[in-house]
C-alpha cells in the first residue's frame, strides 16, 4: 500500500512542540538511548536526572540530582521515567511534587501499592501519570515522549489510546498509511494498575478540536476497558474500538474477592460487547479502521 501524505494542521494533547521534557534516569542505558532518539525527533528534552551525577550531560542535555532543581533551572513540565521498577514510586512522586503535570512511566512490573500511591498523589496535585509499562505519548511531528518508534506515525486527525505498545504501533501504521494520521497516540501501559485510564484520555481527545475520531485499543484481562463505555456514550466524536484476545485461551483468574469486584469483566468478548453497546464502532483487524473512518466521513 503506498503511503499517502496529507498536509494538515494537527494539534496535540498532553505533549506538543512546547513541552519541556525531563528524562528521569537519563544516564542509564535505556534513558540515554531514548534521549537521543527523542532529541532526533525534535522533542524538547531540556534536562535529565540521576542522583550524584549533577553537572554531567547526556547527548548535550544537562543532568541534575533532583527534580526540584531540574524544574527550577529548566522550567520542565513533562517527565519520562526510565528507572528500575523499585525506584518508580519515588521518582514519580518527586516529579509530581516538583510540579510536573505529565509523568510518563516506561518501566514495567511496578509494585501495585506503589502505583496506587502514585495515582493518589497525582490526583491530589492535578497531574496525570501515564503507565507503568507504557510506550509513552507521541504527537507526530511535535514531540515523542517515551519509546515509540517514529516510523509508524504521521501528523493527522485521529487520536489513539491503547494498553499495548505493539498494538499502538500497528494502529498508527494503519492510520498513517491510509492518510488519516494521528493527533496524539497515548499508551496507557500494560501493567495491572495504571496511572491513567481510557475514559480520562477520551475526555482529553473529546476536548481537542483537532482530533476528529478516537481509536481505543484494549486487550483481555483487567478492568479498564469496562470503565470507558459511560464516557464513550457521551463523546461528541466517533470512537473505534479494537480488543485483542477474542481467540485467546482462558487465562488465569485472580481469585474470589477479585471476581466479586470484577464480575464477568476481563474477557475480550465482554469488553467488545460493552464498548459496542456504548456506541463504539468495532474494528476486527487494523484494516477495518480506515474503512470505518471513511464510512463515518472522518
Amino acid at each position: 500500500m503506498p503511503r499517502q501524505r496529507k498536509k494538515e494542521l494537527a494539534v496535540a494533547i498532553l505533549v506538543d512542540e512546547n513541552s519541556r521534557v525531563v528524562v528521569q534516569g537519563i544516564t542509564g542505558g535505556a534513558g540515554s538511548f531514548h534521549t537521543k532518539r527523542m532529541l532526533e525527533y525534535g522533542t524538547k528534552v531540556v534536562a535529565g536526572t540521576s542522583p550524584g551525577k549533577a553537572g554531567q550531560n547526556v547527548e548535550g542535555v544537562p543532568v541534575f540530582d533532583t527534580m526540584a532543581e531540574c524544574v527550577e533551572a529548566t522550567r520542565a513540565n513533562v517527565s519520562v521515567i526510565f528507572l528500575p521498577a523499585q525506584f518508580v514510586l519515588d521518582g514519580a512522586v518527586e516529579a509530581i511534587r516538583a510540579g510536573i503535570k505529565v509523568v510518563v512511566v516506561v518501566p514495567e512490573h511496578i509494585p501495585l501499592v506503589d502505583m496506587m500511591k502514585i495515582r493518589q498523589e497525582a490526583r491530589e496535585a492535578g497531574a496525570l501519570v501515564i503507565g507503568g509499562n507504557t510506550a509513552g505519548i507521541i504527537s507526530p511531528g511535535k514531540a515523542n515522549v517515551g519509546i515509540m518508534p517514529d516510523i509508524a506515525f504521521r501528523p493527522g486527525r485521529v487520536g489513539t489510546v491503547s494498553r499495548s505498545g505493539s498494538l499502538t504501533y500497528y494502529v498508527a501504521d494503519t492510520l498513517s498509511s491510509s492518510g488519516f494520521g494521528e493527533t496524539t497516540c497515548v499508551g496507557l501501559g500494560g501493567d495491572p494498575i495504571l496511572g491513567t485510564t481510557f475514559e480520562e484520555v477520551l475526555d482529553l481527545f473529546d476536548k481537542d478540536p483537532h482530533t476528529r475520531a478516537v481509536v481505543l485499543v484494549g486487550e483481555i484481562g483487567g478492568v479498564y476497558e469496562e470503565m470507558a463505555p459511560p464516557r464513550i456514550a457521551t463523546m461528541t466524536k466517533p470512537v473505534l474500538a479494537m480488543v485483542a484476545g477474542v481467540h485467546a485461551p482462558r487465562g488465569k483468574r485472580m481469585g474470589h474477592a477479585g471476581a466479586i469486584i470484577e464480575g464477568t469483566m476481563g474477557t475480550a468478548k465482554e469488553k467488545l460487547r460493552a464498548l459496542e453497546e456504548a456506541g463504539a464502532h468495532i474494528a476486527r483487524t487494523f484494516l477495518d479502521i480506515p474503512l470505518i473512518l471513511t464510512r463515518l466521513g472522518v
Binding site: 501495585l112 501504521d173 485483542a244
Partner: protein
Amino acid sequence: MRLYEYEGKELFKRESIPIPKGRLATDAESALKASEDMGLPVVLKAQVLTGGRGKAGGVKIARTQEEALRCAKELFDLKISGFPVEKLLVEECLGIERELYLGISIDRVRYRLAVIGCPEGGVEIEETARAFPEKIKRVDLKVTEEMLPHQAIFLAKGLGLGGAHLRPATDTILKLVRVFRRYEAKLAEINPLVLTREGKLVAADARMSVDEDALFRHPELSEMGIEKRHEEGELTEREKKARENGIPYLDLDGDIGMFPGGAGFGIMGIDFLNFYGGRPANFMDSGGGPTPERLAKMLELLEDNPNVVAIFGARFGGISRCDDFARGVVMFLKEKGLTKPMAMRMTGNMWQEGVRIFEEARKENPALFTNIEIYGIETPIEDVAKRAIELAKTKKEGARGGHSR
C-alpha cells in the same frame, strides 16, 4: 503470585489470627504420624496452587489411623487441575457452628483496597455474590488509609456477629488488613472463617496471593521459601523449556508458529490468524528489549515443534530494536538453520540497521534465507499473516501430495 494454604496460615499466625492446629506432611507416613500426634479425627488437605480443591476431592476427614494412612495415600496420588499433590496439611477438626467469608482484594477501578464480608462462607462466594448481592458487605480503603475500628465493626456486624463475638471478629478483620498490607498481598481470603461450637473464630482456610513485583521488599517471604513460582499447573515440554529461558510461551493446537514482539501483538496475532482462517500453534512474547540469544531461543521453540508447519513473524521495533531482532534471527539461522517457511514483517526503531544485517547475512550465505520472506512497513501486517497461512497450506498440501498413492 499464589501462596499455599500452609504459607498463608503461617502469615496469619505471625499476625496472631487464630488458625487450627496443624502440621505439614510430605509423605503418607509423616501424615499418619502427624495425625497420631494431633489426635483423631483430623482433616487432610492437599496443598496445591489452585482453587476448587474441595470439589476435586483434595480434602478428606480421617477418624482412624487406617483412614488417615489411606486418605493420605489417595491424596498424594491425586492431581488437581494439573497440579500434583506434593504436600498435605494435617489439621485438627473444628466443631463448626457457622461458616463465614472474609476477603480483601485490590479494586483497580476505584484504586482502593476492598474489604469484603459475607455471612455465608465455605461455599463458592462468587455464586452467593451473584444471587444475593445484599449479603455482601464492603468497606473501601485508600491505599494509605488505615482501617478504623468502627469500619471493622460495621463489617463484623455484616457477618452477623454481635455480642461476645463482635470483639474477636473486629480483631480478625483488622489483623487481616494488616497481613494484607504487611506482605503486599493482591488477595487475602479466609473462606471459611469458622465460628466454632466453643464460640471461637478460627481461620479454617487461607487463600493468599502476593504481589510478585514487590517481593524485593519482602526478604521475610523468601526466608519462608516463598519465591517467584509458576502457577499454571502442568506445563508441556516446550512450555517448560520456554520457561527455563524466561520466555512467556503457551502451546496452542494449531500449525502456524507465531514469532511476535510484544504481548499485545502476541495476543492479537492469535485473533488475526483465526480471523483469516489459520490456526496458531502458540502464544509467545519476546518481552521488552530481548537479546539476540533470547530471540534465537524463541525461533528454536518453533523449529523444534513438530506441529509447526509455517511461521508468522512480526517485529515492530520500540524498546526492542530491529537491529537486535535481526541479529537474533541471523544467529539462529547460522547456528541451527530454519527448515520451516517463515513470513515475517520488520519495521520500527532501527529498521534500516535490521535490514542491513539481513542483507549482509544473505550475501554471505544466501542458502540461510531460502525459507524466509521479509516484509517491511509497505506491506500491511494482515497481508503477512495471510501469507503465513498460505505457506502453511502449501506446505501441508505438499506433504499430503507426497504421501498420496
